[in-house]
Symmetry: C2
Subunit: 268 residues, 2 copies
């Protein structure tokens, strides 16, 4: 049986010096270079595979420094600081002599404490009661099944736009795959650009930085299995070539798994 | 005339090799070590002072890797990637041989484009119509004047707590000081821990990672001058020792200046 396309895409070969060799996957190709979510997952995977790694990811920021070229890359994770139960990582993704992405990650041994998520899952129909949303054009869109509830792509690219850029959708890997931290990091980038809703107009753009906070232990992720996630994102600031959004991802059972924020460049 | 305490606190001496020497400021002391916002401002300032720096900050993430000891530190900003109009920085703050903070920053030459902020300032009374909120106990609290509108500190630390952790306040440097990117980064950390509202109970805690997205040019910041900012934050996920919040900062005139997110560690 061949591996899931996601596992094939994030596969990394240790090089013995703490760095890892990888290769871009045509299965996750975007318009130019790979889907940002798969680059994020590769950076995080390098941290998780590192023999010195302590605990599970809590905070993860990836900066997309340049278009990743199709082909080979190197990942260089480095533990900048190791404490008793937390660790701070700096990661560089390199092609040839050029840095194409940077990342930082906090990993930690998580312990049971008081808890109570404040960002609650909105009341929405179940995934099986929502129609599949066709999304085509680039390879990575076929790697996710999406069922939009709110804020789907503009039907007419006529420049009309909307005042609000909220999107809410059910999403899962296609074919389904048990969730883990790399796949959750990739899913955090699944939203199309918020500016498309605001402007109903296409313009060159790309994510420049994304942060993911993980609100689940590996155990809680395992419990979510290969089920649906409810994903939601809303734009905040738009101006002078950059906009951001803030988002949340819940399991089908309503557990908050991750919160995410990203900033995108846009032209015009 | 002596410099503003903020300028004294973020003062850095270039060492000729691209690194900078600094010193913690008693004026911004917190319970243990310095206020995280001043550490953030120092990291960002090192990038802005670097002779190779291109453009203005757009995205900034700082990771608090360890308690910063009172005394000297070194800042090592490094341009990991320089493009035509954007640049990606990695920063390490070091004391002795130990990394105490890491950061990444995206700086960019920002150009006029379509814009329209979606996160609007809530309707609130003007700062002069709101009573000053006394905040005492550690030095840095005296460096900001705050006027809370919603979600002030619990009056009774009786474990009752609230279901929502929204805080909304007017805030400015004390004494007033014209805004710039380092001071805005410091202000992004001005919120007390959201978990205090949720639990009305004190427990050991600390910020481990904070991200700031700047939605203003240097020109827009200059226009905000030394005026009030409306700052707002709301908790999202709380569990297994970590919680996060999402926040916004507007100028008194209602312009969105920055959005921010952070994740804090807590015990119990």
């Amino acid at each position: 049986m061949s591996p899931h396309p996601f596992d094939a895409a994030i596969a990394l070969q240790p090089r013995g010096d703490g760095s890892f060799a990888g290769r871009t996957s045509p299965a996750y190709a975007n318009f130019i270079g790979p889907y940002g979510g798969i680059t994020a997952a590769q950076c995080l995977h390098a941290v998780l595979l590192h023999p010195d790694r302590l605990g599970e990811p809590v905070a993860f920021t990836v900066n997309f420094a340049a278009a990743v070229a199709d082909g080979d890359f190197l990942l260089r994770p480095r533990a900048a600081r190791t404490n008793r139960s937390t660790q701070h990582w700096i990661v560089e993704m390199v092609q040839g002599e050029e840095v194409v992405a940077t990342a930082t990650a906090l990993t930690a041994v998580r312990r049971p404490t008081w808890g109570g998520h404040e960002a609650r899952m909105p009341e929405v129909p179940k995934p099986q009661d929502v129609a599949r949303t066709p999304r085509r054009g680039v390879a990575w869109l076929d790697r996710y099944e999406t069922r939009f509830l709110v804020g789907t792509l503009p039907r007419d690219w006529d420049g009309s736009g909307t005042a609000e850029s909220l999107s809410r959708l059910w999403v899962r890997d296609e074919p389904p795959r048990p969730l883990d931290f790399p796949s959750l990091a990739a899913l955090a980038d699944v939203f199309f650009p918020r500016i498309w809703l605001r402007r109903a107009r296409q313009t060159p753009l790309g994510t420049v930085s994304m942060t993911v906070y993980f609100h689940c232990t590996a155990q809680a992720l395992a419990a979510a299995g290969s089920g649906w996630l409810l994903a939601q994102a809303r734009g905040q600031g738009f101006g002078s070539g950059y906009f951001d959004h803030s988002g949340q991802l819940w399991s089908e059972a309503g557990d908050l798994l991750a919160t995410t924020h990203q900033v995108m460049y846009y032209k015009e």
